[in-house]
Amino acid sequence: MTTSIRGDNLLSLDRVSKEAIVEILDTAESFVEVNRRSIKKVPALKGRVVASLFYEESTRTRLSFETAAKRLSADVLSLAVASSSVKKGESLRDTISTIDALGIDAVVLRHQSSGAALQVSRYVPHVRVINAGDGLHQHPTQGLLDAFTVRQILSERAGTSGLESGAELFRGLRVLIVGDVRHSRVARSDIAAYVTLGCDVRVAAPGTLLPVDIENWPVSVVEDFDEALEWADVVGLLRLQRERGSGSFVPSLGEFTQTFGLTSERAARLRPTTIIMHPGPMNRGVEIDSKVADLPCAVIERQVANGVPIRMAVLYLTVAGSKEEVVL
């Protein structure tokens, strides 16, 4: 169990403690303020080099990480493998060794294969590795920014600050995760974060999109999706991963929308305070109706915005992070 990610890698939220997560959220809180300044930069990682290595196309995660690194004054080496000359089949070890030879302190890795970040951490043990999504396995910064967003909204409503609330507002919070849990690294990280923070997590999905061992997960499966929508404080929608072949796991996208899409009719069942989240990119009209995505309680853009302070916090803690150092 990881009790702090200071000076460590961030590969997964599985077996990361509540204190460690709260530490990241609290650190991110201090970076939110930096992002509001006219000069959005602190010298925390000045002289450090962060490589961003994306084997899969990604707009928001890559921009978010690179923005975060730059706001910490780190130098960024950006390699979009998906569109570069690195051919599929070249070993991960060779690619990472090449980049390491340039002298880097951290690597942010997005890869289509589960476990790729852990493998890289074995190849370059002196470099901090931050998993920006590996296959179906984990996407820890997404789980963190989702939890951060929820805490931010709830603490605003409660008239307190995120820092003061710690993990308190998560206790018993009713979170409903909807959609392709089986193929979702976001679901694995979200569920790990929410459960660790004390939430009551339920999932709703067609039988084929539930994990094969769902009975071992610390969540319950809802029998009635519509009732669960009334129950939920937070509804986390997942992207239907068409590119992972989950298309054949449901008869049609239309049927998925009929049964588990957040349509306008279903959204009417939500309490006005219920928070609607989506990690993006959305399949509008599939897992979420376009109108629903634009409701005030849908906080999708806020999630994107919070990606930057969360990733600043993660980079700061992992790269700068001995316990003695003081924030800012």
Binding site: G89, G115, D134, P211
Partner: protein, 437 residues
């Protein structure tokens, strides 16, 4: 005239053991027990404290030649086998191109003859191992091929498997099946279960193996053709085949050392060294295999020795090829599974030599071409294929010390008990104490 004198070992017969000497002269066993006069130029090996039994026979070796010589060649694989105690290997046909015709089978047999041990060939069941059309089984059988398999993948189409069994039966050959329904295994890379789900790896369910085992038992019942089940890995697979064998159906099965040594938690660090098909299973299945070995229910231990170039095992887990090495460690691992110091020497040689020799038709009197006889009873006059095993030796497996071209062994650093002391193939000492002689 070359001769070898093995002094004072425990001679392991088919059902009993006795301390004595073994004399080898000109490729044959000349004397056992009290051997009389020893030629003055005989190479003497002190076998006291050691077991002396028939040379090991591997039913399941991937020699990679032709096509993947960077990972293994017929020669390097044969030498690795010799160090591991083997005097005969059955080369699997999933080379590139596949061993699905007389020319390619002849090529491998010819190359095999240039190695110090015997290399037999398993031919492909279908053309190109594509599971569509029968390969020329009768022509290959005429060259002495006695096992046929599309290993690497099972014959998916039940109608083709039925036809292959009907065709094979009068030829007196056996079909060996890699049991996994690929539609159900669906591109998975480890055992399906709670662990695969947590790791985000697509799983290969036990059922993918068990359904094909069940299917093929019924096809054997229907056709009367013989099936050898390759690398069974689950408790239920074993139960089904053992029950079918008790009914008198012509079925046999092997287990692979990794399946009775390692469990699925080895995959937890996403190290592709531990990726194999069928996958490493949960501890319960591993224990079931060990129980079956000790209970004498298993026909053969076979390595599924599968060399891969290092750069391929450095790929991500789901992208890396499946398979791991086994030839140089299987004897010690089998000894360990049989109970280490309590292991039965008779059972040990039954699993690694006499059982597989019977299945591969490599014994004396079996219809065969080109090969000497293996898995014998250690009687005078037999071909001298012998393996001396030291049950008390302790050593550490090192991938850097392997004789294979590849290094993808999952056992690096493992403490082992029991070691192959000497391998004598066709009357010649070919390996001694972990090195080529």
């Amino acid at each position: 005239m070359s001769s070898i004198f093995l002094r004072g070992g425990l001679i392991v017969g088919e059902s009993s053991t006795a301390v004595g000497d073994v004399l080898v002269v000109d490729g044959r066993i000349a004397g056992v027990g009290d051997v009389g006069e020893v030629p003055s130029d005989a190479l003497e090996i002190d076998a006291s404290g050691c077991w002396v039994g028939p040379g090991l026979v591997d039913l399941h070796t991937h020699l990679r030649e032709p096509g993947r010589e960077e990972a293994e060649t017929i020669e390097s694989g044969a030498l690795a086998g010799a160090v591991g105690g083997f005097t005969a290997l059955v080369a699997m046909p999933n080379t590139e191109p596949a061993l699905d015709n007389v020319a390619l089978v002849s090529y491998v047999l010819d190359r095999g003859e240039r190695t110090p041990i015997d290399v037999a060939v398993a031919g492909a069941i279908s053309v190109g191992r594509r599971g569509e059309m029968l390969a020329p089984l009768a022509e290959m059988a005429a060259l002495g091929v006695r096992l046929f398999t599309d290993d690497g993948i099972g014959v998916q189409n039940p109608a083709l498997m039925r036809r292959a069994l009907e065709y094979a039966k009068p030829l007196g050959v056996r079909l060996a099946q890699h049991c996994e329904d690929e539609l159900l295994a669906g591109g998975g890379s480890m055992n399906e279960g709670a662990l695969s789900s947590r790791l985000g790896l697509v799983g290969r369910p036990a059922l993918a193996e068990e359904l094909m085992v069940l299917r093929d038992i019924e096809l054997v019942r229907l056709t009367g053709g013989a099936v050898h089940f390759l690398h069974l890995s689950t408790r239920r697979s074993l139960d089904m085949v053992v029950a079918a064998r008790r009914e008198g159906l012509p079925v046999t099965f092997e287990v692979a050392p990794h399946h009775f040594t390692l469990d699925e938690t080895s995959c937890e660090q996403f190290d592709a060294l531990f990726k194999v098909h069928p996958p490493l299973r949960p501890r319960g299945d591993v224990d079931a295999l060990r129980d079956a070995l000790r209970a004498g229910l298993v026909d053969a231990v076979a390595t599924d020795h599968a060399p891969h170039a290092p750069e391929l095992k450095d790929l991500a887990f789901d992208e890396a090829p499946a398979g791991m090495l086994g030839l140089e460690h299987v004897a010690s691992l089998t000894f360990e599974a049989l109970g280490g110091p309590e292991a039965s020497a008779v059972a040990f040689y039954a699993l690694l030599s006499r059982g597989p020799a019977r299945i591969a038709h490599l014994r004396a009197g079996d219809q065969r071409v080109r090969h000497s006889a293996h898995g014998g009873s250690l009687s005078p006059g037999e071909d001298a294929n012998l393996m001396v095993f030291d049950p008390a030796a302790r050593w550490t497996a090192r991938s850097s010390a392997l004789h294979s071209r590849a290094t993808n062994s999952p056992y690096d650093g493992r403490e082992l008990v029991g070691k192959v002391r000497a391998t004598i193939a066709k009357g010649t000492l070919v390996a001694f104490d972990g090195e080529l002689a």
